[in-house]
Symmetry: C2
Subunit: 464 residues, 2 copies
């Protein structure tokens, strides 16, 4: 890059500072306040005696952990939900998943839309909504419609699963409670279960798995994608052809590519292991379902301890990547991963701008994606090192558990209840960071100091 280029970069500072203020600091505070408030309320509600079954084990740590896990829709738990909570308790959990999963997703999307408008640059218009619609009331209206749609999806899921569960449960009330909880848990990608053993009872029921996967994908694909699909469906007849945004294309493509790659890799790694002796359709559904669920849902049709170390490491990577931004998922997010990979390929081919789907990616976004990846790797690595010092469990189960918390996935090799108080708090922090998004953290750490005005000479160094 030339001298003039860096000169340009230097001149950008005022814009940058404006962005820092407008985009991140205030929304971040709102999000964090909302998060801690709901965790507090849920912890208190779950601690009410009416929420629990007679004689169930319970501690303040359990209350805080399960509240944090449900508001972050992670699904890790220190107790067996089916043996701990009353029907009232289960409804409190359903409430927590809604305010956690859908609430945070909505707030995120809201700020994203507002930010897109306030900056006022046409090329930064992130979602293909009418400019007219983007006044505050139009925005609230848009989000409300989508919220209704999600609740409708959850209701349909509950109805379908509830009716179908009458094959499994004699009491229709029990069947519909199970169906409702399963539907909400899948749609919000929470991954909690009240069966006592996740979806293992349905390991051979492809219908339940199919419905669950649809609900999981609808939750994990991201709110912005929803708004565009809605627009696409409603505005199909108008003269100007609707175009999906670059964001929607990248996140959706990445989501489904990873889904397919995950299925193939899990199948290959377990072909001679867990899947040996199983029919092709069993093997296919085991691989597909686990690939789908490992991105942020955390529901399982098998026991993680039956899988090989390499499969568990691979699954940890899937959880680390996570779901789409502004969805109910966590991790570094699909777009971060996509930009990381695109950056590498373009760099290797000697290109300095990243082009994909006939669009050029903004350089700032590429840098951002690299920052997110680095911070996530540092966070992940140091968490594993620290927990392996404090916890008396196997290394692989820690590697898996940390990825599960950061990716707000909730799958576990079963160590969660055995962790120390310190270990549980570390997971609570990881779930929080994974859910809120790692980039937001960078911005609260950043001071608003003005950089020195004088310039230093440039000098090169040898790398790698």
């Amino acid at each position: 890059m030339t001298e003039e280029l860096t000169e340009e970069m230097r001149n950008l500072k005022p814009l940058h500072k404006r962005r820092l203020y407008k985009m991140s600091l205030t929304p971040f505070r709102v999000l964090v306040s909302y998060y801690f408030l709901t965790v507090g309320v849920v912890a208190l509600l779950l601690s009410l005696p009416v929420a629990r079954q007679q004689g169930a084990d319970w501690s303040a740590m359990d209350a805080i952990f399960i509240a944090a896990s449900s508001v972050s829709v992670t699904g890790l738990t220190t107790v067996d939900l089916s043996e701990t909570f009353s029907v009232t308790g289960i409804f409190i959990l359903i409430f927590a998943l809604q305010v956690g999963g859908i609430g945070i997703m909505t707030i995120n999307t809201f700020f994203w839309l507002v930010f897109g408008k306030k900056i006022g640059l046409k090329q930064r218009q992130l979602i293909q909504t009418d400019q007219n619609q983007l006044n505050l009331s139009g925005l609230v209206n848009l989000l409300r419609q989508i919220l209704y749609l999600i609740i409708l999806i959850e209701a349909i899921g509950a109805l379908v699963l509830g009716t179908y569960y009458m094959n499994y449960f004699e009491d229709p009330k029990e069947a519909f409670l199970q169906g409702l909880f399963a539907s909400v848990s899948a749609t919000t990608n929470a991954g909690f279960d009240i069966t006592g053993e996740s979806l293992i009872p349905f390991a051979h029921d492809y219908f339940v798995q199919f419905v669950t996967m649809i609900l999981i994908i609808l939750g994990a694909i991201g709110f912005p994608v929803w708004t565009e699909v809605r627009k696409f469906l409603f505005y199909k007849g108008t003269k100007t052809r609707f175009r999906f945004s670059l964001f929607t294309k990248i996140t959706t493509a990445t989501y489904f590519i990873l889904l397919v790659v995950g299925t193939v890799v899990i199948f290959s790694l377990e072909f001679n292991g867990f899947l040996s002796g199983k029919s092709w359709h069993e093997s296919f559904f085991y691989s597909l379902f686990q690939s789908t669920t490992m991105r942020s849902a955390g529901l399982l049709t098998l026991d993680m301890n039956d899988l090989s170390t390499s499969t568990i490491l691979f699954m940890s990577t899937l959880m680390f990547i996570g779901a789409s931004p502004s969805s109910v998922g966590g991790g570094i997010r699909t777009t971060t991963f996509a930009l990381n990979i695109l950056f590498l390929f373009h760099y290797a081919r000697g290109r300095r701008t990243i082009k994909v789907f006939k669009r050029e990616i903004h350089h700032d976004d590429v840098i951002k994606s690299l920052v997110v990846l680095m911070l996530a790797v540092i966070l992940y690595g140091s968490s594993v090192v620290i927990l392996s010092a404090t916890e008396d469990v196997s290394l692989i189960s820690i590697i898996f558990e940390v990825a599960s918390a950061f990716g707000t996935c909730g799958a576990s090799m079963g160590i969660t209840p055995d962790l120390t108080i310190f270990g549980k708090w570390m997971l609570i922090i990881l779930m929080f960071i994974g859910r809120i998004g790692i980039l937001s953290f960078l911005f609260i750490m950043s001071s608003n100091n003005k950089a020195p005005d004088f310039q230093y000479p440039k000098e090169r160094v040898i790398i790698g």
Copy 2:
């Protein structure tokens, strides 16, 4: 960043292509040819019957593995050297360490100096040598002087250790052979031993450890640092004050900061473990020596299996970072790590240019450092996943072994001889990549395709 900025980036392509050709492709071919040639020769020489003790176990795989390990100065081994090689064999190994460690370091530095001159930009002048001196004969002369200096250091080390070892070995010949091998093994950061148990016999001999650490640091600090120190000493009297290059400052500072941090962390992690009940000076030397050796040397004063999982994970990180560029070490290199960290801090503080030691880092170098880190993380992660599928050893020993190979460190939890043929070949490849440097690989993968001339509109996406 603005439109104009990316415009600038686009215009840079011709320069970039020139660089690709001049800097990386040709030197890379030379390096790789040299590497494979020396590995082949060493493997053949080691396979001569005269190189081995009567009746020692030996296979073609051992020959290739130990040749690759010695040319890459890694020090991982599939056999016990002290029980396998004759005195002739030990001298062949010493030869291999010289052509591997010092040879590759020299070639690297040579191309770096030539590159610095050919580009002809004053601001890219990497080393503070006279322009006059940078004709080919001056260059060869400079490198030759430094080579002599290194061999002198090795000789002094051999003499000091050999004389001192007369306390340990009755036969003076044995003492001096041990001294010579130890000196070369330390200076080239190879980490091989012919004691049969590394430096564990000297775990309480602080003199041996001190001398060894000095030799290790002299090898790992990097050839370019040497040329500058030499210049600093010889040209001290001239009118213009000598200034160390930014590269030398960054790599030396990073090297020593990591040395101190490593000592403190190892001490803290093992305070209640391996070090409990040991005196302060024992604890200090155990921590300091392992911190020094974990960067690329691989000599040990303790058994890795006595350490806790968290310490081993931390040490794996040190090995992954490795030593200085153009040194006898491997890994992602100190400068890569330094630029990664500086990038994060500057980004968090909202700055777009990285300033350190009163100089501004070139944007290209920052991007390069991020590419190296990402590739290394991908290489590291996928190697661990693959080996955990193919090898029947513990996960932690694989994590450690992969870091050790990539960082050309050579410390091991003892699994090397037990690996499958596939596993051994993977380590050979990792040692090769670690030694040659990961960035070089990117450039052979890169095609010389001209990027399309038309432009796409820019569009932003949500990250993280």
